[in-house]
């Protein structure tokens, strides 16, 4: 028996617009579960520019991506949103009773009256390094993450990158690999200094190889790599490798959203500008992921879209209820929901 999470609303994406949607939906007594592929809230604000100031948030002359996320989290606290991080929504389909079924790649199932897609530029996924022909080896001998360490046992492992993922896996896989080589473009690392020191200590003992350079080519057959060409300051070297783990950061991809049967416009979801509803009633799209004539990809536009979406969503979720428009400044019922004393 599958464990199904029942909720009013599933929000796909926990960036600033997804977070603010919790607030607007909360004012209408709609409970939200949020799903995000990152390991924390904030979306692009957290992943791309946590420290970078944003200048066009109304009433905040200057605020950082991290600061904005923090304040939104504080603002939505009274509504007790539930977060499901490190997950990607795989499928979205309509149930016979009119609700929607949302399934993640961790096999969780949600049943919701409303689905709000606030997925920004899509989901963050590992970037494919610019090595010619790498596609042919993916998921066979080239991996972008480690799901099971056993798959690397007794292999000649080649790790490329200079961040925490690259260094952490270098240290963790070295004991079970037949050989391990780390390749990085330069002798400086982004990773935590402690991991870097450990790596250099292992290199000194001869437990692993460290090469400065960039991988420019792969050789092998039938999806199985045999060696990689590393171009360094002193020319090219061949590195024996039967497993390759490149860590080249994250990029945004629309992902499975493209397969949900929604009308799209150049990889964005088409919505109306009254409700920000997609071509499927009950599924809304707000923020950078949507498109309508005149659309501007601004956080503040997403906030506006969230407010109108919530008003429309309430009518679908509780068709019997009278939807009354109220102000937080004067409505005692809204203030009660916000915990104002």
């Amino acid at each position: 028996m599958r464990n199904v999470i029942e909720t009013d609303v599933v929000i796909i994406g926990a960036g600033p617009v997804g977070l603010f949607a919790v607030f607007e939906l909360g004012l209408y007594d709609l409970r939200c579960h949020l799903i995000d592929i990152l390991d924390r809230p904030g979306g692009q604000c957290a992943e791309l520019y946590p420290e970078k100031p944003i200048y066009d948030i109304p009433a905040w002359p200057e605020i950082s991506g991290a600061g904005l996320t923090e304040r939104l989290m504080e603002q939505i606290k009274p509504f007790h949103p539930e977060f499901h991080f490190n997950r990607m929504v795989q499928s979205l389909k309509k149930l016979e009773d009119g609700r929607f079924e949302v399934e993640t790649d961790e096999n969780e199932v949600f049943h919701a009256k409303i689905v709000v897609i606030a997925a920004g530029g899509g989901s963050f996924q590992p970037k494919r390094p610019p090595i010619p022909g790498i596609e042919a080896y993916e998921d066979k001998s080239v991996f972008y993450s480690v799901r099971r360490m056993e798959e690397f046992r007794d292999h000649d492992v080649l790790i490329v990158g200079g961040g925490d993922s690259a260094l952490d896996w270098t240290l963790n896989l070295q004991p079970l690999a037949r050989s391990l080589t780390l390749v990085h473009r330069r002798p400086e690392f982004r990773a935590a200094p402690d991991s870097v020191n450990k790596m250099f200590a292992m290199q000194e003992k001869g437990d692993l190889n460290f090469e400065i350079g960039q991988v420019t080519g792969l050789s092998g057959a039938d999806g199985q790599i045999e060696a990689a060409t590393v171009k360094g300051p002193d020319g090219e070297v061949e590195v024996k490798a039967t497993r390759l783990l490149p860590f080249f950061g994250l990029t945004m991809k629309l992902g499975p959203i493209a397969d949900w049967g929604l009308n799209l416009h150049e990889n964005l979801i088409t919505v109306d500008t009254e409700k920000f509803q997609t071509s499927v009633p009950g599924i809304f799209a707000i923020g950078d992921i949507n498109w309508y004539p005149g659309k501007l990809k601004l956080i503040l536009s997403g906030f506006h879209e969230a407010a109108l979406m919530a008003h429309a969503a309430k009518k679908i979720a509780h068709p019997e209820a009278k939807v009354v428009f109220q102000y937080t400044t004067s409505s005692t019922s809204l203030q009660k929901k916000l915990g104002v004393k």
Partner: protein
């Protein structure tokens, strides 16, 4: 106005009048220079506005800061003259600057 030249990968030369204080990336995007993707919009958070600074201009442009070096790790075919064009600010000192677009962005 400062004159800068961006050489696309097919050899087309884009000779642009750039405002001082603007970035080379902004000028490239505004003039639709092919090959400058600038996915993150200039936040030094991707490596898709990678350019090669012509040797004669390397010193005037200067060295990348640590954060930019970190991002260059993700770029394709990084060379000693590699820079992210969103981090190069146009000034009088760069009048005549020439940069080239690499074969591909990351």
């Amino acid at each position: 106005m400062t004159k800068i030249t961006i050489v696309a990968n097919d050899g087309t030369r884009y000779e642009l009048e750039a405002e001082n204080g603007s970035t080379v990336m902004e000028n490239a995007v505004r003039n639709a220079v092919p090959g400058i993707e600038a996915e993150c919009g200039g936040a030094c958070a991707c490596a898709t506005c990678h350019v090669y600074v012509h040797e004669a201009w390397k010193e005037a442009v200067g060295e990348p800061e640590a954060m930019e070096e970190d991002m260059l790790d993700f770029a394709y075919d990084v060379r000693p003259t590699s820079r992210l064009s969103c981090q190069i600010r146009v000034s009088d000192a760069l009048d005549g600057l020439i940069v080239s677009v690499p074969e591909r962005q990351a």
